[in-house]
Subunit: 332 residues, 2 copies
């Protein structure tokens, strides 16, 4: 691909051809890959799980901080994490890119590489897509997965009083990385801990296998922490009509977060853990007679909803702050 060309220079057909040339070989289970009206996958041996998620330039990423590859990793990660949160195994991803004509074609190529690489990490194939023109870059992924036979989907609504609350993956690292970027630090920061936190913000790497492992181990409910631990725990608690009582000691900030907060001066690493979004960790509940599988650690307990009912989230037996977590349409 000509590194200096824009997507407008290539035109729609040229852009599609350039992107298709970057795709890795399709696995045999992909009967028809990208380039026709639709992709075709061999019959899936189980229920089909589907999720869609969008990132928008200026809202979810900044072209000054994120490469095309970062955005590709991010789109794949947040879509595949939604599948994992149902207990499913990722199978395929399709993507739609809407972009200004001025966007460098090389950016679109890097986006494709990031999408394909993170798909490969999650066990999925990047099988198709669509390109359109828009005033800002908008990338929508849609992921397909399969639930192994005899393993029901793990919903948000299945948590029961007495269950343990467990977490797979780190929380707070993405928010710390974002605050580091905002403070002027970059991914080439000489402090390797800070550089790693910035990388974890730019390209989250969810613990996909923990989703299927959690389902097989009998998880009663599961969600991915896309909008922040407290906000997503509240969603799970409300859907289940229970309270998730999180244990602040189990959720104490890691040394990496404490180090970053110290370097920044005015940051609270506990807020990153409780309210930071985009880590795509998996928060699950397990019946008391089951053992959370490898990768999960216990971070709380399910307790009855209060007299008013409804369900939600507590931290150390006290109501969690209401506005924790990322919200679209909050900052207009």
């Amino acid at each position: 691909m000509d590194r200096d060309a824009s997507v407008g220079d290539l035109g729609e057909d040229g852009l599609v051809a350039a992107v298709l040339s970057r795709l890795p070989p399709m696995p045999a289970s992909v009967l028809v890959g990208a380039g026709d009206d639709a992709a075709v996958l061999a019959r899936l041996d189980g229920s089909v799980v589907v999720s869609t998620d969008t990132v928008v330039q200026g809202e979810d990423f900044d072209l000054a901080w994120s490469t095309g590859r970062d955005v590709g990793v991010k789109v794949s990660a947040q879509n595949l994490a939604d599948l994992a949160a149902m207990g499913a195994r990722p199978v395929a991803l399709v993507v739609s890119l809407a972009a200004p004509a001025e966007l460098p074609a090389s950016w679109a190529g890097e986006l494709t590489d990031g999408l394909a690489d993170e798909c490969a990490r999650g066990g999925a194939a990047l099988v198709g897509g669509d390109v359109s023109q828009a005033p800002v870059v908008v990338v929508t992924g849609t992921a397909l997965g399969v639930l192994p036979a005899a393993t029901p989907a793990v919903l948000r609504s299945g948590a029961r009083v007495g269950d343990v609350v467990a977490l797979a993956g780190a929380v707070g690292r993405s928010a710390a990385g974002l605050d580091l970027l905002r403070s002027g630090r970059r991914r080439d920061d000489p402090d390797p801990v800070l550089a790693r936190l910035i990388e974890d913000h730019l390209g989250p790497r969810p613990p996909y296998p923990a989703g299927e492992a959690g389902a097989r181990a009998g998880a009663s409910a599961m969600i991915d922490t896309s909008d922040g631990l407290v906000r997503d725990a509240r969603r799970l608690g409300e859907a289940s009509g229970v309270l998730l009582d999180l244990d602040a000691v189990a959720l104490a900030p890691s040394p990496d977060l404490a180090h970053a907060a110290e370097r920044l001066g005015d940051a609270d690493p506990g807020i990153w853990v409780l309210s930071g979004g985009e880590d795509h960790a998996l928060l699950a509940t397990f019946p008391p007679d089951t053992t959370p599988p490898e990768g999960f650690r216990v971070v709380g307990r399910v307790v009855p909803a209060g007299a008013e009912g409804g369900g939600g989230v507590l931290v150390d037996h006290l109501p969690a702050p209401a506005d924790g977590g990322w919200r679209h349409f909050r900052h207009r």
Copy 2:
């Protein structure tokens, strides 16, 4: 839903709740509908077909002309038509809405209605989605379908010399409707022919069952005319390494198109037929010993590529204009 509220007033969770309340009941084959991390469909009895397509405010629709319902119909139609063009039966659609905070929440509700109605017409369920903030409205649909067992996918690349070229659905009506809108006419035009053409632009209604019927009848290649008859016929011809020789008499503009061109004065209805996009008719080729099924009419013949090879499209044995049809990134 409060008719005066904006999506920003509702906030992300409020908007999602408002949209979910508009969805029709899910069929039994949808094990988990919208509202969890992902939707879950019962095992599909055949290969799984997936396609994604995006519409952008100002590119693909104009908020002054299109209601939310129109845009919903359009997004469903163009996605489901891609499935039909593979010979598949539509099963499900997920949708992502990115929109400014100022967008009326009622528009998002109407969008949901349009998506769900056209999905129902195509036999699919609207099973999930995602909302984000963006400077303009961007709606991405992703459709899932199933190929009946023993019916292979119909690709663009299967046309062979001697096949007949056949078309299901009308072409040129969407382009005529767009030119009528640009001339200042509206959907409430007192001339019912013009009003119907405008409706066909705002909400295309593809002939979905013809896709599966064409596949069962042995179609050798198929594509939907999303970008215009000549442009999509060229894609099919190039993918197959043949020329599609279209018959201008068989493609003569209908009386409706002739009437609209006369009213507009300076329009050429033949251009609408050959180059107008967004009708989502189905263009297929059939071996000479097969009979195109009901709904298809013969509009040409497959002939050998010229000495230079490559394939493409002719009209009455002569090369078709190279720039016919809709192209993203053309008008920057």
